[in-house]
């Protein structure tokens, strides 16, 4: 019975969210919702590698950026949008396997700084190699509407959440969590460390690439370097930890909270100040509430 209620509620939420463009024409609302959905995808993709498999990947933006570049230029070149998105979702894990593989062999803190530097290399190359912003051509701009962007973000976000849900219920997900808790103990218990890390890595980067593709469709103009800025990674990490790392619902709550706070604070405070609020919350979560907001709600219910 409870399960049915949950399903019903979930269906209700999805229908309600799907109806948003019919209920409001205000571009600011639509932009917020689109951003929330984009952040859900991006943070869920980080959640797989960082939350479930416990690998603090600070170079996640590299895969978002590559997904963006592949999808953006193919789409503007005339390739149909779904194919361009797919190309982005494939390019990211490919990059991960070819160039990222050595980095991902590293363990512990060396993994963390290795990934950070890996993304930093790509950022510098992107800023230097493509110094001109990519702006949509005039015929695209006149036809620009937020509604299809909104629905694309919605579909991709639902996909990302579904993937994370399936992982969380699967044997693979259990293996990832075992790796997160104690790599040596997991190995002794017969978990294939390589398989778990590699699958987490591939699924995570593919979703990040897809998120990059969504942004490629959404952005009217963007510098290639700006989609490689570490802030994308940092936002995802913040959202996942504040929402609740290694949970399905955590990054969703985190994304809603993050984007709304960002937009509201931007009205009253100097730009970027939401990061101070979030930074303080983040430190508090790391020190005192490792389960994030999800844990907080669970505690209140009990």
């Amino acid at each position: 019975m409870v399960k049915n209620w949950k399903k019903l509620a979930l269906g209700g939420v999805i229908v309600l969210v799907a109806l948003v463009p019919l209920m409001t024409q205000r571009t600011d609302f639509l932009t917020w919702f689109t951003l929330i959905l984009l952040y859900i995808t991006l943070s869920q993709s980080w959640n797989i590698i960082g939350g479930y498999a416990g690998q603090i990947n600070l170079g996640h933006v590299a895969f978002f950026g590559v997904g963006y570049l592949a999808a953006r230029y193919l789409w503007l070149f005339g390739v149909p949008l779904p194919l361009a998105l797919l190309a982005g979702a494939v390019a990211a894990p490919l990059l991960a396997l070819i160039v990222g593989a050595p980095v991902f062999r590293l363990r512990g803190v060396y993994f963390i700084i290795g990934t950070l530097v890996f993304a930093e290399i790509l950022k510098h190359i992107a800023w230097t190699a493509i110094p001109i912003a990519s702006v949509l051509p005039a015929e695209y701009l006149t036809a620009y509407s937020l509604v299809p962007r909104y629905y694309l973000s919605l579909i991709v976000a639902i996909l990302a959440v579904a993937v994370v849900y399936v992982i969380s219920k699967s044997k693979l997900g259990l293996g990832m969590m075992a790796v997160r808790e104690d790599e040596d103990a997991a190995r002794t218990s017969g978990v294939s460390i390589l398989k778990c890390k590699l699958s987490a890595f591939i699924i995570s980067t593919a979703l990040a690439g897809l998120a990059g593709g969504v942004f490629a469709y959404y952005a009217t103009g963007a510098y290639a370097g700006s989609v490689f800025e570490p802030i994308w990674t940092f936002d995802s990490v913040l959202i996942v930890f504040v929402g609740g790392a290694g949970t399905v619902i955590g990054p969703i709550i985190g994304s809603v909270f993050f984007v709304l706070l960002q937009q509201l604070l931007a009205v009253y405070l100097p730009g970027g100040f939401h990061l101070v609020v979030f930074g303080v919350m983040f430190i508090l979560v790391v020190l005192y509430l490792p389960g994030g907001m999800v844990e907080l709600m669970g505690k209140r219910r009990r």
């Binding site: 603090i56 980095v103 512990g108 530097v117 970027g272 303080v280 983040f282």
Partner: protein, 290 residues
């Protein structure tokens, strides 16, 4: 061409010493406490702005305000350690490393925003009257300020080296770095050693920040790139060699400066690629113990 090469080489040594000094503070904290303070660059940035403030408001020469800034950052470091890191430092092994890294990461988000409010997002530099002056040797230009910066970097590094190897407190630091449990059993106050080490690392970051303000530009967002530079140098040098860290910094500086002649703006990638190669093939670094 030869002249250009020599000039780039000289510039590389000067900026490299600055990379090295930035890494020395990071290396000290990492080596002793097994905490990776990725907010190190933020301390550096704060130190630079502190000197900028002192210079523009009171007109005190930045080289004279150096000890003041160092003391200020020392206190700030001690306060931040007490408030945020003292609990994390009690954890063990990988958990300590990861939790402390995340706390420092939170600081990386907060401090630049606070700095933007205090000093705006405009580029700042500390420019005393003598800042543009230079002398020439064999056709190579040496600025007085960068040379003084090089001197400061060398003095601070070797001062720290002597402090760690010759004083009683230095001994307790090295003991704690070696094995903190054994050190505690020997009667060393590990908590206090950690506190002072962290504060000392922040103070060195502050001094590097002054040099950055004198020879480069200051921006609220500049911290992360200096943390990265320091990380690269740290990994290249390996643990446990303070002097080696300075040398590694100079290697990176020269590699970047010289490669700039050949590959232009991509030179910044050179240091990063060196970093990844070292990380993969010689994880103990050039001067570290295997």
């Amino acid at each position: 061409m030869v002249e250009l090469l020599a000039q780039s080489f000289a510039n590389g040594i000067i900026i490299g010493a600055l990379y090295g000094l930035a890494a020395v503070g990071l290396s000290l904290i990492f080596g002793v406490m097994k905490i990776l303070n990725i907010a190190h660059g933020e301390f550096l940035m704060l130190g630079g702005y502190a000197a900028f403030w002192i210079f523009t408001l009171t007109n005190i020469d930045p080289f004279l305000s150096l000890p003041l800034v160092a003391i200020g950052l020392f206190l700030l470091g001690a306060g931040i350690y007490k408030l945020l890191f003292s609990g994390v430092a009690r954890l063990q092994g990988e958990l300590r490393m990861n939790s402390s890294l995340l706390v420092a990461f939170g600081l990386c988000l907060i401090i630049p925003q606070v700095a933007t409010v205090l000093w705006t997002g405009d580029e700042r530099a500390i420019t005393p009257v003598y800042s543009g002056t230079a002398f020439e040797v064999l056709g190579i230009r040496f600025g007085y300020v960068p040379m003084a910066g090089l001197l400061v970097a060398v003095v601070v590094t070797f001062g720290l080296q002597i402090f760690l190897s010759k004083t009683y407190f230095g001994k307790s630091v090295r003991g704690t770095a070696e094995n903190w449990k054994a050190a505690r059993l020997m009667g060393i106050n590990v908590d206090r050693t950690y506190l002072l080490t962290f504060a000392l690392g922040a103070a060195i970051a502050g001094v590097s920040g002054i040099l950055v303000g004198l020879t480069q530009v200051l921006l609220p967002m500049v911290g992360m790139s200096w943390t990265l530079k320091a990380l690269i140098v740290l990994v290249l040098a390996g643990m446990g060699s303070i002097g080696g860290t300075l040398v590694a910094g100079i290697i990176i500086g020269v590699a970047e400066a010289v490669s700039h002649i050949f590959i232009g703006p991509y030179a910044i990638v050179v240091g990063l690629v060196i970093f990844l190669l070292i990380l993969m093939f010689r994880p103990q670094g050039l001067f570290g113990k295997a």
